[in-house]
């Protein structure tokens, strides 16, 4: 795909999510869509992190742990220490990053199912820790988190006080979608950089990469840290939107869903997690009206999709159009 076409795709995408969707909601009056789409955006940020660990050849079922930690870091700072939400957002991400380096150093030596299962256990460790730690208020969780305040830079209000807005839903929508766009742009840049190529070499054969001088231990940590950063900020915004966080806010089910989002979208495509999250979340939502058959239909479709397109949804487009068309913006 030529550069011009790619820019056109990016422009179209931005126009749809930033202008098209709000306009559609205003016209149709489906205000609930804001909440759904905000969730999709946040979940796809966390899924993008999982995707990056897939990119270095690790199955990560531990993103729920970092989302939970991020949510709690932000909530505790806002509620107990009165820190501005906008400051806690990067702090939550960085906290998860540091935690993931400490945890990642030993466990990133594991591979395949071993890594998958340890990260699965990690999710459970995070949940149980949040239940046991004194600062997290146990099973009652932290509730009544105030809405994000105003953000001023050099005397100019960049972001207005959320509590003063007539409707807070569009504000959160723009915040989440904006962050999602930034995350995926960074991810796209990363994957197509030298670092990304090195990561791909890890995915294929770590020993070989190591033998030609790639510092595999360092790369693994970097990728895992970025992944956890994304999980942390996703979780922090989630806590701000629901104005509460509980040990059960992110559980093993969520960790597995993050992974499924990546699988469904396709592991070979940067924008796979975004599409996967959208399809999974909306599919689940749409099936709500089928009542007790919701899970049955959902899982049947999931199995059917897996049988028909085992390499992810984007592989369909890939095989029809071919070539580098997979990485559109």
């Amino acid at each position: 795909m030529t550069g011009g076409a790619r820019i056109a795709w990016v422009g179209l995408f931005l126009a749809v999510v930033l202008v098209g969707v709000p306009a559609f909601i205003a016209v149709s009056g489906r205000w609930d869509l804001y909440y759904t789409l905000t969730s999709v955006a946040l979940l796809s940020i966390a899924s993008a992190g999982v995707w990056l660990t897939f990119y270095i050849g690790r199955i990560n079922i531990g993103q729920g742990a970092y989302a939970l930690i991020g949510g709690y870091v932000s909530a505790v700072l806002v509620v107990k220490y009165g820190v501005s939400f906008w400051l806690t957002l990067p702090i939550a991400g960085l906290f998860c990053m540091v935690a993931s380096v400490l945890i990642g150093l030993p466990i990133l030596r594991l591979r395949g199912v071993y890594f998958a299962m340890v990260t699965l256990v990690l999710t459970e460790v995070a949940r149980l820790s949040m239940l046991a730690l004194p600062i997290t208020n146990g099973a009652k969780g932290i509730t009544n988190i105030p809405l994000p305040g105003a953000l001023t830079l050099f005397g100019i209000t960049v972001i207005p006080d959320f509590a003063g807005l007539a409707d807070v839903k569009p504000a959160f929508y723009y915040l989440s979608v904006g962050l999602m766009i930034v995350s995926f742009a960074v991810l796209y840049r990363l994957v197509n950089s030298r670092l990304g190529h090195l990561c791909r070499s890890l995915q294929q054969n770590e020993e070989l990469a190591s033998s030609i001088g790639v510092n595999i231990a360092y790369l693994r940590i970097v990728a895992y840290a970025i992944s956890s950063f994304l999980g942390g900020i996703g979780g922090a915004i989630f806590a701000a939107i629901s104005q509460s966080v509980y040990p059960s806010s992110f559980t093993i089910t969520d960790s597995i869903n993050f992974m499924l989002n990546c699988f469904l979208g396709g592991l070979g495509y940067v924008f796979g997690p975004m599409l996967g999250t959208l399809v999974l979340y909306f599919g689940w939502d749409l099936l709500f009206q089928t009542g007790e058959f919701q899970l049955l239909i959902f899982s049947t479709v999931l199995i059917g999709l897996m049988l028909a397109l085992p390499n992810g949804l984007l592989s369909l487009r890939f095989s029809r159009i071919g070539g580098g068309a997979s990485r559109r913006g």
């Binding site: 897939f54 199955i59 030993p106 466990i107 030596r109 594991l110 591979r111 395949g112 199912v113 071993y114 998958a116 299962m117 340890v118 699965l120 256990v121 990690l122 459970e124 460790v125 149980l128 820790s129 239940l131 046991a132 093993i252 089910t253 597995i256 992974m259 499924l260 699988f263 469904l264 592991l267 070979g268 007790e292 058959f293 899970l295 049955l296 959902f298 899982s299 049947t300 999931l302 199995i303 897996m306 049988l307 085992p310 390499n311």
Partner: protein, 289 residues
């Protein structure tokens, strides 16, 4: 103390049997079967229906659970896993399929059997009371013994039967086994059926004691993953060891750590992570299995 050890042994026997099925499937197909807990629940409900509802003898119910689950396992392998493994570029894709099957079984179990906790009448009455040092109901002892007998039977079957030899060959090296004339497709199916059958048998055994409800599949799967990790994925002796270790640790932990609040599982999980970062392949696993 004796009571704690007795509880640990009883739990361990159950756990080992669950882990055996999971590890067998993993060894053969390199598939992490997320649906293992759901297969267990299904076994429990089949036993509940036949023994609890239709009032047929318990042995018949257990046998029916084993056969049903074997058939379900064989079908899952034949029509789902085999197709996806052949078509998929990355073998991790099977995890999505396994998770999908887990959801599917959850939904089916919920629709067919409802969400209530189901129990069945005791299979034997009475309590063993050894000087108030060990107090154990007879039905628990019987179930524990049955589980140990099943484990022994399974190990002997894997060791000495023709099918068992073929399965072990498959687990060691798929291609080499094929070159030696093992029908890979057929034995993969048998292996998966056998693994599912083990899950069904434990489900059938445990329904007599703890009962069964449609929501416990996921937690059981996670426990089974842990046992397999402790012992080493894909190793039969490892699964048995992992099961008994987890059972024992749980039993001891719940007694010793009770005064510190509800932190037994946190301690177990955290120490498991430390253990795995020191010894990634578990107790008996091969590195990077």
């Amino acid at each position: 103390m004796e009571q704690v050890v007795a509880n640990g042994l009883y739990l361990g026997a159950q756990y080992a049997l669950i882990a055996l099925g999971l590890t067998l499937i993993f060894a053969l197909m390199n598939v992490l079967n997320f649906a293992h807990g759901q297969l267990y629940v299904l076994g429990g409900f089949v036993t509940y229906t036949i023994y609890g509802q239709l009032k047929l003898p318990f042995v018949v119910a257990l046998f029916a659970a084993a056969v049903t689950l074997a058939i379900v396992g064989a079908l899952i392998e034949r029509y789902l896993f085999r197709t996806v493994i052949k078509r998929s570029v990355r073998e991790e894709s099977t995890m999505l399929l396994a998770a999908g099957i887990a959801f599917f079984l959850d939904a089916v179990i919920l629709l067919v059997f409802g969400e209530k906790q189901r129990g069945v009448p005791k299979i034997v009455d009475g309590v063993l009371n050894w000087d108030f040092r060990v107090i154990m109901p007879y039905d628990r002892i019987l179930v524990g013994v049955l589980a140990i007998v099943s484990i022994a039977a399974f190990v002997l079957y894997m060791q000495y039967s023709k099918t068992g030899r073929a399965l072990r060959a498959l687990a060691q090296d798929r291609v080499a086994a094929q070159l030696m004339g093992v029908n890979v497709d057929r034995y993969s199916m048998i292996g998966f059926a056998l693994g599912a059958m083990l899950a069904g048998v434990v489900g059938g055994l445990l329904v007599t004691i703890t009962g069964v409800n449609s929501g416990i599949g996921g937690p059981i799967s996670i426990k089974a993953f842990m046992m397999v990790m402790i012992g080493g994925a894909g190793v039969i002796s490892g699964a048995i060891a992992g099961g008994f270790i987890l059972g024992m640790v749980e039993s001891v932990g719940l007694t010793v750590l009770r005064s510190y609040g509800d932190i037994t599982y946190l301690v177990i999980f955290a120490s498991l992570m430390v253990f795995l970062s020191i010894r990634p392949q578990g107790l008996m696993g091969k590195p990077w299995g």
